[in-house]
């Protein structure tokens, strides 16, 4: 897999932290712009240049409402992210769902966020259950049986704690501490879930959907005669690369479960690489959900709309930074040749938001992977 290099490369971030996390703003000009930390640990926004020039504008996060006409949803989202003072993808995601839950992006986005938050809790519960079961089965000679409901009631939790006593002693800790470690580990792994779980968790589904998107874009490109076909193929190649990279990271993040005893006995040290691996996985898939939903929303539309969607996808493509995949010699930045058009996102003289454009972005926000 090789990508054309070019002048665009000098603007490519070298680390995930530099690239930042995509924010699901509904203000069209800011849709999928990125938040990151500056060198003084202050949040800042990077927005692609509006005039079609290469490179990005960088704006202090707190100044964003002064510079742009934001939708009410985006004012609330900007506030929520500012309050969290974090630009990590899971934190941005939580802020996004909590904001959508207010209904400021419409009732469908509200319902979708409510359902997703509930699903998130279920995934945590189920992953914890599978992790507890795997550890207990492996270290207690199958003497203790476990039900999902044990994790939801105080009596059940107490029963597990007392059952963990022997194992904890062997690991040089106490049952209370071991329970907390397993709970924390389960929460960390919840986005990918554990093998054998009855349904795929969020990042697992997202990885699959990224691969599926690559196939769809390739199929579409084979039927299109315009320049957009090339952009679709390049986007598909990046999607495949991301899918492959994310699968490897997910496998690596799950590997420590095989030697859970060592991880749990050295928890304070072991949790650091665990968190780092999962963080990298989150960064890797960040921004793809919007792209997948954007394409799904355009698959049944006319050719011009599809070409515009492909151009937009190429523009916001979350490219894996060079140093994050340094061991993969085939990754080079994709030339940013798509920013050739000025998009009509705001009335140029009034600065008023075009509600129809806002609605298009909100429509994508309603969907879920």
């Amino acid at each position: 897999m090789t990508f054309p290099g070019g002048v665009g490369q000098q603007f490519q971030p070298t680390r995930f932290e530099e690239r930042g996390t995509a924010v699901s703003f509904t203000t069209p000009a800011l849709s999928q712009s990125r938040v990151r930390m500056d060198d003084r640990e202050q949040l800042e926004l990077t927005v692609s240049a509006f005039s079609g020039a290469k490179g990005n504008y960088v704006i202090r996060w707190r100044d964003v409402p002064e510079i742009f006409s934001l939708t009410m949803h985006d004012r609330a989202l900007q506030d929520a992210i500012l309050a969290r003072r974090s630009c990590l993808p899971p934190d941005i995601r939580q802020a996004t769902l909590e904001t959508a839950k207010t209904g400021l992006a419409g009732p469908e986005a509200q319902r979708s966020a409510e359902e997703e938050l509930a699903e998130l809790e279920n995934e945590i519960l189920l992953t914890r259950f599978f992790l507890f079961r795997q550890v207990i089965d492996g270290m207690s000679d199958g003497q203790m049986t476990l039900q999902v409901s044990d994790l939801t009631t105080s009596s059940g939790r107490e029963r597990i704690r007392s059952g963990l006593g022997d194992i904890a002693e062997r690991l040089g800790t106490n049952s209370h501490e071991l329970y907390i470690r397993l709970e924390r580990w389960g929460e960390l792994l919840a986005p990918i879930g554990l093998p054998g779980m009855p349904k795929k968790c969020r990042i697992g589904r997202l990885i699959e959907a990224i691969g599926d998107l690559a196939d769809r874009l390739d199929r579409w490109a084979s039927t299109d005669k315009s320049e957009a076909a090339g952009l679709a193929r390049a986007s598909a190649r990046m999607a495949r690369f991301t899918e492959e990279f994310a699968r490897e990271l997910a496998t690596a993040a799950l590997r420590p479960v095989e030697y859970a005893d060592r991880v749990l006995s050295n928890w304070d040290k072991a949790v650091i690489p665990l968190k780092r691996d999962l963080e990298r996985l989150w960064w890797t898939v960040d921004g793809w959900e919007f792209i997948i939903l954007l394409w799904r929303a355009h698959e049944d539309r006319d050719r011009d709309a599809q070409r515009a969607a492909v151009t937009e996808i190429y523009r916001i493509l979350p490219i894996i930074p060079e140093k994050e995949a340094a061991n993969r010699p085939n990754l080079h930045g994709i030339q940013e040749s798509s920013r050739m058009q000025v998009r009509a996102l705001e009335g140029w003289n009034s600065g008023m938001l075009d509600l129809e454009m806002v609605r298009r972005v909100e429509t994508v926000k309603r969907g879920r992977i």
């Binding site: 004012r75 209904g103 469908e108 005669k225 698959e299 006319d302 050719r303 011009d304 008023m352």
Partner: protein, 468 residues
């Protein structure tokens, strides 16, 4: 029949959940059962239900000689708006009588042989972009049919009694004129097939430079070949694009090349076809029912109308009296009043309630539905407001938006007063916020971000002072 209707509704609901293979089986079954088990109308209704899925899945269709016969001109087929012949288009109602006539002109033994070969041929796989059998069998059928039809049409043109008899046989003047167009397309079927490849998939949006070049080259070659009706290629090209206006400069540049119609140049052919299509669109507006259409569709129709008349006027196609256009404009104004403005206040104010945690799920569902409807109405209002002056409805729409904004602002002010007076003390901050956000969202959609921002700020300040 009611069972079948219920089943169709069920299929419609689950249309995108049915596996591709099932869709393919179902499609073939319906098409093969047509006129044997199901009535044609029932089969059409069933296929109509499946159509959105057919576009996506592209199952192999039940191929008949009639379908192959229609292939060269299938892009031109339209549902009859009235009994008149539409320039460059062929009425679907003409297909059956014309095909019966063509069939009666052909050698019956050869037809049977062709049908047998067709039955024995294998359909393409699901998702295939084209059925290769069409070109294969078409090459024979189109050629023979064109030759026989040419004899009949030439004779009709030269012998008035024969023409009258043919018109009587086909059931009217329009099917006869449609038959002439069918002949024109059949005679250039090979060239049309080649160009169709260039102009795929349909509808073609903005034409690419290579496509424009291909159109010019193919049309010029067709004219040089001495084809009787090269204009049918213009008709097919227009029918395959979503923006026919872009073809005006393309065909204007072809100057005086023939079209098969005396005195009509390629550019004029395009204008006449656009004019016919736009009249058809105006007539369809006249038939539209505001109640059935719904607010979003009315707004979209107004938008389409305004774009269309803008283009027609810019290209000089709408000069002179335009009774259909004026009637459509008046009808749209009426539909905006009854379908978008009327009841907007009730709909939008009903959505300002916030669900309470203890509300039964049916009540929550009803409120969700009310909110969706209110949002759709607000978006429809804003869409219409952008172009209302073009249909003479700007005053009514502006006044409705102003009144609605005031009503929502009053509702918001009352909410803040309630919060300040302690009415939300028992319900908590979250309940107050939920109510506030509902009003802010509606105010943003109807009155704009500034007014919404004021309400949000004042509301959150009041909520902050609520006891924890």
């Amino acid at each position: 029949m009611s069972d079948l209707t219920a089943e169709l509704r069920d299929i419609e609901r689950k249309l995108f959940e049915i596996p591709d293979e099932k869709v393919a089986q179902l499609t073939l079954l319906i098409e093969r059962s047509r006129a044997v088990v199901l009535s044609a109308a029932m089969a059409d209704a069933a296929l109509g239900t499946l159509r959105p899925r057919l576009v996506k899945t592209r199952p192999p269709r039940h191929l008949t000689l009639q379908r192959i016969f229609c292939h060269p001109f299938e892009d031109l087929l339209v549902l009859p708006e009235d009994g008149d012949k539409q320039f460059g288009r062929i009425s679907r109602a003409s297909v059956a009588p014309c095909w019966d006539f063509v069939l009666s002109c052909l050698d019956q033994a050869a037809v049977k042989e062709l049908e047998a070969s067709l039955r024995a041929s294998s359909p393409p796989a699901i998702g295939a972009s084209a059925d290769p059998r069409i070109a294969k069998f078409g090459a024979t059928l189109w050629n023979i049919a064109a030759r026989r039809l040419r004899e009949e049409i030439d004779r009709a043109n030269n012998e008035p009694p024969h023409r009258e008899a043919l018109i009587a046989k086909l059931g009217g003047e329009t099917p006869f004129l449609d038959l002439v167009d069918m002949l024109g397309a059949l005679e250039i079927a090979g060239a049309l097939e080649k160009l169709r490849d260039e102009l795929s998939p349909k509808p073609v949006g903005k034409l690419l430079p290579e496509q424009i070049e291909a159109i010019r080259e193919d049309y010029t070659a067709l004219c040089l070949s001495g084809a009787a009706m090269p204009g049918m290629m213009i008709a097919v090209v227009l029918a395959r694009t979503s923006d026919p206006f872009q073809l005006l400069p393309v065909f204007d540049a072809l100057g005086d090349q023939p079209t098969g119609i005396e005195g009509v140049k390629p550019g004029q052919f395009v204008r006449r076809m656009i004019s016919g299509d736009s009249r058809r669109f105006f007539k369809s507006i006249g038939r539209a029912n505001a109640e059935k259409l719904g607010d979003s569709n009315i707004a979209a129709m107004v938008d389409d109308f305004v774009r269309m008349i803008g283009r027609l006027k810019a290209d000089g196609i709408a000069d002179g009296p335009q009774p259909e256009m004026e009637a459509a404009e008046a009808r749209l104004r009426e539909m905006v009043k009854t379908g978008v403005l009327a009841g907007a206040d009730t709909k939008i104010m009903a959505a300002l309630d916030a669900p309470r945690r203890d509300d039964p799920s049916a009540a929550q569902e009803a409120l969700f539905e009310a909110k969706l409807q209110a949002e759709n109405r607000a978006f429809a209002l804003q869409k219409v407001a952008k172009v209302a002056n073009e249909i003479g409805a700007e005053k009514e729409v502006a006044s409705a938006l102003k009144t609605l904004t005031q009503q929502i602002e009053q509702g918001g002010a009352a909410l803040i007063a309630d919060i300040k007076s302690g009415k939300f003390n028992g319900l908590g901050k979250d309940a107050a916020k939920q109510q506030l956000y509902g009003a802010v969202r509606m105010l943003e959609l109807v009155g704009g971000a500034q007014a919404a921002s004021r309400l949000m700020k004042d509301g959150l300040t009041a909520i902050d002072k609520l006891p924890a």
